[in-house]
């Protein structure tokens, strides 16, 4: 009889944030969120790392799935964010839904613990959505779906996971 396999809880590591930045969701917050999401979601996930964000032109990096089984969440600037850039309409809608306050001069404020909830409920949950799709197909060097479909399915799962956090 084949032994039932259990999901191993992933390692959650926190590296010191860059100067003037911080990790809105701590390692403990991430562990709590993973427990709330359940074994079926983190099955096959090796690690979640909180790391300093890279500098990417025209992007504000939030997190990344590095397959197979590794998720990184990037440190963020203290609220409010003074970006000096405009946001496309879909990005504005996403941030507003997460609780951000968008001001006319391009300043984004995160009242209360909205940024922490955004990192867990939107960024981590979305990357877990990518992970689940990749892992259920046991893919190591290939993509489980074309990118637009992958993003859409990851977001569907992220919506479900956000509900578990509320």
């Amino acid at each position: 009889m084949r032994a039932a396999r259990r999901a191993v809880f992933p390692a959650v590591r926190e590296r010191r944030a860059s100067r003037g930045r911080y990790h809105p969701a701590s390692a403990e917050d991430v562990r709590s969120a993973l427990r709330a999401f359940g074994e079926a979601i983190y099955y096959g996930l090796l690690s979640v790392e909180l790391v300093p964000a890279p500098i990417v032109p025209s992007r504000l990096p939030l997190g990344q799935l590095i397959g197979p089984g590794r998720i990184v969440l990037y440190d963020q600037a203290e609220s409010p964010w003074k970006l000096g850039f405009d946001l496309p309409a879909d990005e504005r809608a996403r941030l507003l839904a997460a609780g951000a306050v968008l001001q006319d001069d391009g300043v984004i404020a995160w009242p209360g613990d909205t940024l922490r909830r955004f990192m867990l409920g939107h960024v981590l949950a979305h990357e877990l959505g990518h992970h689940v799709l990749q892992h259920e197909r046991r893919l190591r060097g290939e993509r489980g779906a074309r990118t637009s479909e992958h993003e859409a399915r990851a977001e569907v799962l992220a919506v479900r996971l956000r509900a578990l956090l509320d």
């Binding site: 990417v56 025209s58 992007r59 504000l60 990096p61 939030l62 997190g63 990344q64 799935l65 590095i66 397959g67 197979p68 590794r70 970006l83 000096g84 850039f85 405009d86 946001l87 496309p88 990005e91 996403r94 941030l95 391009g106 939107h122 960024v123 979305h126 990357e127 990518h130 990749q134 893919l139 190591r140 060097g141 290939e142 993509r143 992958h150 993003e151 990851a154």
Partner: protein, 309 residues
């Protein structure tokens, strides 16, 4: 005799003398012409390895070339077969000509299995303890060790002058070792240090002992292989757990570089070279980011315009 050695343009008289030693050691002869099939020893792109061959069964001539230029084009054109000694170093890719002739001649005469393929060659590589009394012999041996992929060796320097010789002696020794591009680490040691290892194998040039090819020389760094020590010294050292392996050369050859180069080549064959597996898959990445858009009211200014202004 089934093998003769043809020195094609070798200039250094000391190397010619060592080539005579090689011929005697292998039971071959040195010749000025070609007898039987011609085997060229040269690092050409199409050369095949000295490892993984059957023992020589017909008359043949092994041709080795000039110290700097290698074999002449004429000899290479006439060659029935071209062999190369597989080296593992990025910087020291050749051996001393006499050492190369000894290694190639030994493997051509006896044959061997192919070089092992492994994913963890460095874990299999044993420690080597060299005992030397002549500075040039020690230098050439260290050159061979680097060429065969060793990163460090133990050296018992018995008045060879590697560590404490005069400036001239040290200069000659380091030139022989190609020290300017030889990154080998050389640690001072004595034969007594071998007692610290779990597994001790001594290589001798001749006499009653199993062949070196029957000895397992890839047990990792807890194994020490002693090269260049006299047989009576070896027997007085940890006699109950030392094993002796022989190259079965002629008795009267006492050149460390020949003995050591063959032994190091055999260790390199058993340790093996890295297996080239399929490349690791590129990790799939899905990044989450806030996309930013340049504000529309920005005015781009060419610096040249400012200068004009």
């Amino acid at each position: 005799l089934t093998l003769s050695i043809f020195a094609d343009g070798v200039e250094n008289p000391a190397n010619l003398a060592r080539l005579d030693d090689v011929a005697r050691a292998l039971g071959a002869s040195c010749s000025n012409g070609i007898d039987g099939s011609l085997i060229a020893l040269e690092n050409t792109p199409t050369a095949s390895s000295i490892y993984g061959r059957r023992p020589l069964s017909t008359r043949a001539t092994l041709a080795v070339g000039n110290e700097r230029r290698g074999l002449s084009a004429r000899t290479l054109d006439r060659a029935d077969e071209t062999l190369a000694i597989p080296t593992l170093s990025r910087t020291v890719k050749t051996l001393n000509v006499a050492a190369a002739a000894a290694v190639a001649g030994w493997y051509v005469l006896r044959g061997s299995a192919a070089q092992a393929l492994t994913s963890r060659a460095e874990v299999r590589r044993p420690t080597v303890l060299i005992v030397g009394t002549d500075h040039v012999e020690v230098g050439s041996t260290l050159r061979s060790a680097a060429a065969f992929g060793f990163r460090g060796v133990l050296l018992e320097d018995r008045d060879a002058g590697w560590f404490g010789g005069s400036a001239g002696v040290r200069r000659e020794a380091r030139a022989a070792a190609r020290r300017h591009k030889n990154p080998l680490r050389i640690h001072r040691a004595t034969l007594a240090d071998a007692d610290r290892f779990d597994d001790i194998v001594a290589i001798v040039e001749s006499g009653q002992a199993p062949s070196i090819q029957r000895e397992h020389l890839a047990r990792g760094r807890r194994q020490v292989v002693i090269i260049g020590a006299a047989r009576d010294e070896i027997e007085s050292l940890a006699a109950h757990r030392i094993r002796v392996a022989s190259l079965h050369l002629a008795d009267d050859v006492a050149s460390l570089r020949l003995l050591a180069s063959i032994a190091l080549a055999e260790i390199a064959r058993q340790v093996g070279r890295r297996r080239r597996g399929p490349p690791a898959p590129t990790p799939v990445r899905y990044a989450a980011a806030v996309k930013l858009r340049m504000p529309e009211d920005i005015v781009w200014v060419d610096p040249a315009t400012l200068l004009v202004y």
